[in-house]
Amino acid sequence: MNEEQKSYIEIRGISKYFGNFAAVDKVDLDINKGELFSILGASGSGKTTLLRMLAGLETPSEGTIKIDGIDMTQVPPYKRPVNIMFQNYALFPHMSVFDNIAYGLKKEGLSKDIIEDKVANILSLVKLEEYGKRKPNQLSGGQSQRVALARSLIKEPKVLLLDEPMAALDKKLRQSTQFELVDIQFQLGVTFIIVTHDQEEAMTLSDRIAIMEQGKFVQIGEPNSIYENPNSNFVADFIGNINLFNAKITSTNDDNASFYCEALGGEIVIKKSIQDQNVKDVTLALRPEKMIIQKESPSDEDTNFISGVVEDFGYFGNLSIYRVRTNNGDIIQVSKQNRMRTEQPIKWEDEVYLSWDNENLIILEK
């Protein structure tokens, strides 16, 4: 990303108050042209309110929104170059699929021929050529979603907002639809902003993700950087599974930092410098797949390991997840790829050794 380049969508100090409650609290955000950007958060985090402010359906209490350099803050929804796909699709029940999709074009006052052409094109893009005459209640969930997508894309908006686009679909359909969506976005080059509570969906779809909590962004970044370098306990815990351990900084120099971590068996040295000298208490975080679980004691002298007993495990086919109780009573989650069909599986009550590479430990300041 080029920092100098002017961003396509500029959100500056946006807030929305409902009474005294700040649903969105002084948020700044820049989104680039053609980006597929996700806003991820639990329900009530303010993500939908932010999306509605982008659409113009909600007026911000303060702050500005610029799209393509033009201030949109006070522009009503029907004059914005932005379209939204609603969570429940909001297809007009009294209009056919064709009329639903053509609605936006009719409001632009385009001629009948052009409208018919455009609708036919977009129907083929979403693979619903034969469905123009149907009414919304004669469509399946996946078809409704595609009609909603077509309807919101037909005006060729500068930005398409999608509110929980997959929430109403079942799991199988969700996966295939995700790829279709990315495909369409790539073909049209429209900037997509997706609001979702589903972290898996956000991870697979997005170029970048913003994680929202209590009206604020807690972290913005590419999916893998958020996963591998969460900046807080909240993000680490919110995205994927993770083990969190309390630790104290014992010494630090320009290259290394030493920690004392009871749960991980004592002294830990990580090749990272701690800038703030006042920080003493930290959290060390370690993802379950970054650990190796085995019945034999690791042979290599340098390897960090602790031992424990398998308390519980879940078999997921491709992998198994173990909950191991260590000797000082902590529970640690470890996942293991089931690589060999014939492997002797690890079971309950088995004595096991967990080992890891210290570079995989994430240091989270409290």
């Binding site: 007009f92 609605y103 632009e108």
Partner: protein, 267 residues
């Protein structure tokens, strides 16, 4: 096999529907009774119907009532739809509390009070500005619109709260101004509710005795007023015939409406 409780429920259902329908059925049957006395069956006849259609008073009253009901229903539906839209979609504006109160109150206000207060208004207005110069069809219609629109507003409001606002937002998002959204999206979707509102207003107006009695003037006797003055003195066979005709109209109407709704639901 029916258990004890089911038997109880079943007999209560039978009793309940008998209670509701026997009086109506008896009126229908006795409208064909040749004898003027209720207890005596004098054989089948249509003479009460003939008498009814030769009674110019009844026909005039019926005509007046139907005209009032049609005008009432139309205006009550227009005003009531506006009021319902405001209640459901405009969450805050100056005087909303008062408005909500004024919409809800006619529903629970005893008819005698509505009638009395409107008459006193009309008398005062006549005193002040000379209008209405005489009470009759116009004052009755105004009174009926006032309480009917409250019913329509409630129907429309409850229908609108069922409709997800995102439908209207979607239309706005696609380039329609708010006024246009109401025309393109809201009204078509609530149209069946508006029809129900119209029919309900029509029935309420056609049915009203007390309020009409207060606000009517000389020469404007509505059908219920005429019926009331007749049956006050006892059972009247030609009223049985009239009741039968009205019951038939209502039953057919409701059944047609139910069939239409049923068919729509199946689609």
């Amino acid at each position: 096999m029916l258990n004890k409780r089911s038997k109880f429920i079943f007999s209560m259902l039978c009793f309940g529907f008998a209670f509701l329908y026997i009086p109506i059925a008896l009126v229908v049957i006795y409208s064909f009774n040749d004898s003027k006395l209720v207890t005596i069956w004098g054989g089948w006849t249509l003479k009460w119907y003939v008498e009814l259609f030769n009674n110019e008073n009844i026909l005039n009253a019926a005509l007046l009532s139907f005209r009032i009901a049609a005008i009432t229903a139309t205006f009550a539906t227009i005003f009531g739809t506006m009021a319902g839209l405001i209640l459901a979609r405009l969450k805050q504006f100056r005087g909303r509390m008062l408005f909500t109160g004024m919409i809800a109150s006619p529903l629970v206000m005893p008819e005698v009070i509505t009638g009395l207060s409107l008459l006193l208004l009309f008398v005062s207005l006549q005193d002040l500005i000379g209008w209405p110069s005489q009470r009759g069809m116009n004052t009755i219609t105004i009174a009926h619109i006032t309480f009917s629109m409250a019913y329509v507003a409630v129907i429309i409001q409850s229908r609108l709260t069922e409709i997800n606002e995102s439908l209207e937002e979607a239309a706005m998002d696609l380039g329609a101004k708010p006024a246009r959204v109401i025309w393109d999206i809201t009204l078509p979707i609530i149209f069946p509710a508006m029809i129900s509102g119209w029919l309900l207003s029509f029935t309420l107006s056609l049915d009203d005795l007390v309020i009409s009695s207060f606000v009517s003037g000389p020469g404007s006797t509505t059908l219920p007023m005429l019926i009331f003055s007749k049956v006050r003195l006892g059972v009247a066979p030609d009223i049985n015939a009239l009741a039968t005709i009205l019951i038939a109209i209502v039953t057919i109407g409701v059944c047609i409406a139910a069939a239409i709704i049923n068919k729509k639901n199946k689609n």
